[in-house]
C-alpha cells in the first residue's frame, strides 16, 4: 500500500471568462497535515470544491486510496471519507449539538422513533473523546464559533472521515481557541488521519503543517516540506513572477492638499475611537487582519450600520450621516466587498445599474428619460472602458472586473468625490485587477479621493499614498508609503492581540 491517500493531478476548471484552475496538483499522505496556500483567488477554495464534488472538474484526475474516482457530489465525497469543514459553517443552528452530529444517521428504536437518549449519550462520548465539554442537548446557535467548528469536526469524525479539509479554520478564532484546534488537529494526525489545511496566516504553517503546497493564479507552484523552507521562501513562491508593479515609492499628494473627509472618534461594534483624515487626490489604504474592524468602520461612517458616537466632517463641515442615503448626498460612495449582495443588481442591465444611485436626475417627473440614461451610460462605459456587448446586457453576465467597474461608474455618475473601496479586487482575476488599479489611479488624478480596504499586502503597498493599520477595532498605526513595508504593516496589524 502506498502512503499516498489522495492525489489530484492536472485539475482543470473553467468558469465563464475565468480559467480558475489550470493544472492544479495536490498530493496528501496518510497522517499528515498538508497546508494549501496561495493568495486570494489563487484557486485553493475552487480546488477544494472540486475535491468535495461541489464543482465538476473539466480535466485532470483524482486518485483516492489508489483508485481513480469521479465525485458526483458532496454526499459521494462524504461517503468516501472526505470531510469538509467549511469556512462558513454548515450546521443547523436551531438543532441541538447531538442532532447536528447525527443528522442523516439518527439512532432509532422500533424503526420509526428517534432514540434521542442514545444520540445524546453517543454525542457526549464522542465529544469527550475529543476532550470537549459541550452539552449535547444545547442548540448549536448557542455555541461560540470555535465550538461550532468543533461540532463540524465531530460530525466529520462520526462519518469515519479519513481526510479533513479545513478552510481557514482559524480566522474566526481567538488565540486560545486556535491552540485548542491545533491540539486537536495533532490528535487527528496521530490517529493516522490526514488534513488539508488552508490558511492565510503563514506563521501558523510552521506550527501545524508537515508539507506545504503553494498555488498561484489557479496553477500549481510547488510542494515543500515545511521544515525545509523559510517564510520568505514561501512568500516568494506565492507571489512568484512579478504580476504586481513595484510598490509606490512616494506619495505625490501634496502635504497641504485639502482634507475632504474627516472622521472623529467613531465608535461602533468592533470600532473603537477611530479618527482619520482623507485628503483630496489621495488613496488611503486600510490594512489589518480579517476582523480588525476596517469594514465596520467604513460601514459606520457610511451610515450602513449604527454608529454609537463620533463625528464625520466633509470638506471641513460637520455632517449628519444616519443612513447610506445621507452619505451619498454628501458625496461618499461605498463599494462593498460583497458586490453581488450590495453593489449591483445582477438582474438589471448595465445602463440601469449605472444610473441606479442618481435616477432622480435622469427622469422627467416620474418618467425615466431613456435617451439621457443611454447617453450617460455610454459615456461612462467608454470613459472607464467597461467591456459589455450592449447597454442592455444584464450585469450578471459580465465578468467580476467589469461588474466592479459598473459599481464605480454608478458612484461617479452620482458625482461622489469620496469613494470607499472595500476589497476592490476580491474575486477578480489578475488582468482585470491591474485595470481596476489603473482606473483608481486615474480617479485620484481627476481629484477624487479614495479609501481602500484591502487584505492583500501588495495591493496596499502598490496603491496607497498612506496606510492606516487597524487591529481589534482600533487604529494601531499610520504609515506614509515611503516608510511602509510588509513587515511594518504586519507589526501594527498584530498589535493589541
Amino acid at each position: 500500500m502506498s502512503d499516498i491517500l489522495l492525489e489530484m493531478k492536472h485539475i482543470q476548471k473553467f468558469f465563464p471568462g475565468v480559467h480558475a484552475l489550470d493544472n492544479a496538483c495536490l498530493d496528501v499522505r496518510y497522517g499528515e497535515v498538508h497546508a494549501l496556500i496561495g493568495e486570494n483567488g489563487a484557486g485553493k477554495s475552487t480546488l477544494m470544491k472540486v475535491l468535495n464534488g461541489i464543482y465538476k472538474k473539466d480535466g485532470g484526475e483524482i486518485i483516492y486510496k489508489g483508485e481513480e474516482i469521479e465525485l458526483s457530489g458532496p454526499l459521494d465525497a462524504q461517503k468516501r471519507g472526505i470531510g469538509m469543514i467549511h469556512q462558513e459553517l454548515n450546521l443547523m443552528p436551531h438543532l441541538t449539538v447531538a442532532e447536528n452530529i447525527y443528522i442523516g444517521k439518527e439512532p432509532m428504536f422500533g424503526g420509526v422513533f428517534l432514540d434521542q437518549k442514545k444520540a445524546n449519550q453517543a454525542a457526549k462520548e464522542l465529544l469527550a473523546s475529543m476532550h470537549l465539554d459541550i452539552d449535547p442537548t444545547l442548540p448549536v446557535k448557542k455555541l461560540t464559533v470555535a465550538k461550532q467548528q468543533m461540532i463540524e469536526i465531530a460530525k466529520a469524525l462520526n462519518n469515519n472521515s479519513e481526510l479533513f479539509v479545513m478552510d481557514e479554520p482559524t480566522s474566526p478564532l481567538t488565540d486560545t481557541e486556535i491552540e485548542e484546534l491545533f491540539r486537536f488537529i495533532r490528535q487527528l494526525r496521530a490517529a493516522g488521519r490526514s488534513i488539508i489545511y488552508i490558511s492565510h496566516r503563514l506563521e501558523e504553517l510552521w506550527r501545524i503543517s508537515d508539507r506545504i503546497t503553494v498555488m498561484r493564479d489557479g496553477q500549481y507552484v510547488g510542494t515543500v516540506n515545511t521544515a525545509d523552507v523559510t517564510r520568505q521562501e514561501i512568500i516568494s513562491m506565492m507571489v512568484g513572477r512579478v504580476i504586481y508593479e513595484e510598490p509606490k515609492q512616494c506619495s505625490t499628494v501634496p502635504k497641504d492638499s485639502p482634507v475632504v473627509l474627516e472622521a472623529k472618534n467613531l465608535n461602533a461594534p468592533n470600532v473603537k475611537n477611530v479618527s482619520f483624515e482623507l485628503r483630496k487626490g489621495e488613496i488611503l489604504g486600510f490594512a489589518g487582519l480579517v476582523g480588525a474592524g476596517r469594514t465596520e468602520t467604513m460601514r459606520a461612517l457610511f451610515g450602513a450600520d449604527v454608529r454609537m458616537s463620533g463625528e464625520v466632517l466633509v470638506k471641513g463641515r460637520k455632517v449628519e450621516i444616519h443612513s447610506p442615503s445621507d452619505a451619498v448626498k454628501n458625496g461618499i460612495g461605498y463599494l462593498s466587498e460583497d458586490r453581488k449582495a450590495f453593489g449591483i443588481a445582477t438582474g438589471l442591465s448595465v445602463r440601469d445599474n449605472c444610473v441606479m444611485a442618481d435616477l432622480k436626475n435622469y427622469c422627467a417627473g416620474p418618467i425615466m428619460n431613456d435617451k439621457k440614461i443611454d447617453a450617460i451610460a455610454t459615456e461612462y462605459i467608454s470613459k472607464i472602458s467597461i467591456k459589455t456587448p450592449s447597454l442592455r446586457q444584464l450585469v450578471r453576465n459580465l465578468s467580476g472586473g467589469n461588474q466592479q467597474k459598473i459599481v464605480i461608474a454608478k458612484w461617479l455618475i452620482k458625482k461622489c468625490d469620496v469613494l470607499i473601496f472595500d476589497e476592490p479586487t476580491r474575486g477578480i482575476d489578475v488582468g482585470a485587477k491591474s485595470e481596476i488599479y489603473k482606473l483608481m489611479n486615474k480617479l485620484v488624478e481627476d481629484g477624487k479621493s479614495i479609501i481602500m480596504i484591502s487584505s492583500e499586502m501588495p495591493e496596499l503597498l502598490r496603491m496607497s499614498d498612506r496606510i492606516i493599520v487597524m487591529s481589534e477595532g482600533a487604529i494601531t498605526g499610520e504609515l506614509d508609503i515611503c516608510d511602509a513595508t510588509q513587515t511594518s504593516v504586519m507589526t501594527f496589524a498584530t498589535m493589541n492581540m
Binding site: 469538509m84 443547523m92 443552528p93 436551531h94 443528522i103 422513533f113 434521542q116 444545547l138 448557542k142
Partner: protein, 322 residues
C-alpha cells in the same frame, strides 16, 4: 455549562389564553358556561387540523396558502360522491382525505422538485382548488347527512355523540398527540426542523431533502383533508367557491403560537394554543355583543402582537453561551 433556566416567554401564549378566557368570563354574557365552551371547541376543529399541518410547512421555512380551498375542494368532492354517486359514507370520507393529500403532494412536488417558491406554488393550488371544486359540483352546495338520518352516524362519530358530548375534541386531541410524536420523535420531524434551519447544511449532511420536503406538504394536505371531514361534520353544507381566507386562520394560529415564519423553530403546543386563542376571542366577543367583524379585527391585532413577541424571543434565544 448552562443551568436549565426556565424560559418565561414560553408561558406567555398560554397565559394570554387564560387571561382572555378569564376576561370574557367576567365581562361576557354567560360566557363561563358549557354552551360557550362547546362553541369554542366546535369552531376550532377544522382550523386546528389545518394549523397542525401548516405548522410543519412553516417550520421548513415554507408556507401553504392552499389550506382553506384544499379543505373545501376535498369536502365538495366527498359530498358529490355521497349525493351524486351514492358512495357509502365511509368511502366518501376517505375520498376527502385522498383528494386533499393529492393536492398536498402536488404542492410538495412543485416546491421540492420544481423549485417553485412555496408562496407561488400554493397560491396556484389555492385558486385551482377553489375553481375545481366549483366546476366539479357545477356550483351546487353539497349537503352532508344531518343528525338522525341514515348516514348521520358520521356526525355522531366526529362531531357530537348522541348524548351531546363534543367527541370532535377527542379526535383533535388524538391527532394532536400523533402529530406531536411525528414532529418530535421521528426522522420526518427532525428533518422538518433541519430543512427549515439550514436546508443546504441538511443536504450536505446527506439528507435527501427533496422527498422529505415534498412529504411535509403532503402531510399538510392530509391534515386539510381531515379538516374537511370535520368541517362537513360540524357545518353540514359545503358551499362552492368558499374556503378562501380560511387558510389565514390556520396560519394565524401557527404564528400566534410562536412559530417563526423564517423556519427552523416552532411547536405544535403553541399552534394549538394559538387556535384556541382565536376561538375564545371569537366566542368571547360574541358574548359581549360585538359582531364577527370585531373578531377579525382583534385576531389581526393578536397576530401582530404575537409576532412582536416572537421577535423579542428570537433575540433572547440567539444569545451565545460561553
Amino acid at each position: 455549562m448552562t443551568a436549565k433556566k426556565f424560559d418565561i416567554t414560553k408561558l406567555l401564549a398560554p397565559m394570554v389564553l387564560v387571561i382572555l378566557y378569564g376576561f370574557f368570563s367576567v365581562f361576557g354574557n354567560n360566557f363561563f358556561s358549557t354552551d360557550y365552551l362547546i362553541n369554542i371547541l366546535d369552531g376550532s376543529y377544522y382550523i386546528g387540523f389545518m394549523a397542525i399541518g401548516v405548522t410543519f410547512v412553516i417550520i421548513t421555512g415554507g408556507i401553504d396558502l392552499s389550506l382553506g380551498t384544499t379543505m373545501m375542494c376535498a369536502a365538495l368532492l366527498g359530498g358529490m360522491a355521497y349525493n351524486s354517486w351514492h358512495w357509502p359514507m365511509g368511502w366518501c370520507l376517505a375520498l376527502v382525505l385522498v383528494v386533499a393529500t393529492l393536492i398536498g403532494l402536488l404542492n410538495g412536488i412543485m416546491v421540492a422538485y420544481m423549485g417553485l417558491p412555496p408562496f407561488i406554488a400554493t397560491l396556484g393550488t389555492q385558486m385551482m382548488g377553489m375553481g375545481f371544486g366549483a366546476i366539479a359540483t357545477k356550483v351546487q352546495t353539497m349537503r352532508y347527512p344531518t343528525f338522525g338520518t341514515a348516514d348521520g352516524w358520521f356526525k355522531n362519530f366526529f362531531y357530537k355523540t348522541t348524548t351531546g358530548f363534543p367527541i370532535g375534541v377527542v379526535w383533535l386531541a388524538a391527532f394532536f398527540i400523533i402529530a406531536l410524536i411525528i414532529l418530535n420523535k421521528t426522522r420526518f420531524g427532525r428533518y422538518t426542523y433541519a430543512i427549515g434551519s439550514n436546508a443546504e447544511a441538511a443536504r450536505l449532511s446527506g439528507i435527501q431533502t427533496k422527498p422529505w420536503l415534498a412529504g411535509v406538504y403532503t402531510f399538510c394536505g392530509f391534515c386539510c383533508g381531515a379538516a374537511g371531514v370535520f368541517y362537513a361534520a360540524v357545518y353540514t353544507s359545503i358551499i362552492p367557491s368558499t374556503g378562501n381566507g380560511q387558510e389565514l386562520l390556520g396560519i394565524a394560529g401557527v404564528v400566534i403560537g410562536g412559530t417563526s415564519m423564517s423556519g427552523g423553530t416552532g411547536t405544535l403546543v403553541g399552534t394549538i394554543i394559538g387556535v384556541f386563542v382565536m376561538s375564545v376571542l371569537k366566542q368571547g366577543l360574541m358574548s359581549i355583543g360585538l359582531q364577527s367583524h370585531w373578531q377579525t379585527f382583534f385576531t389581526g391585532l393578536v397576530v401582530i402582537g404575537a409576532v412582536l413577541l416572537d421577535q423579542y424571543r428570537v433575540k433572547q434565544g440567539n444569545k451565545v453561551v460561553r
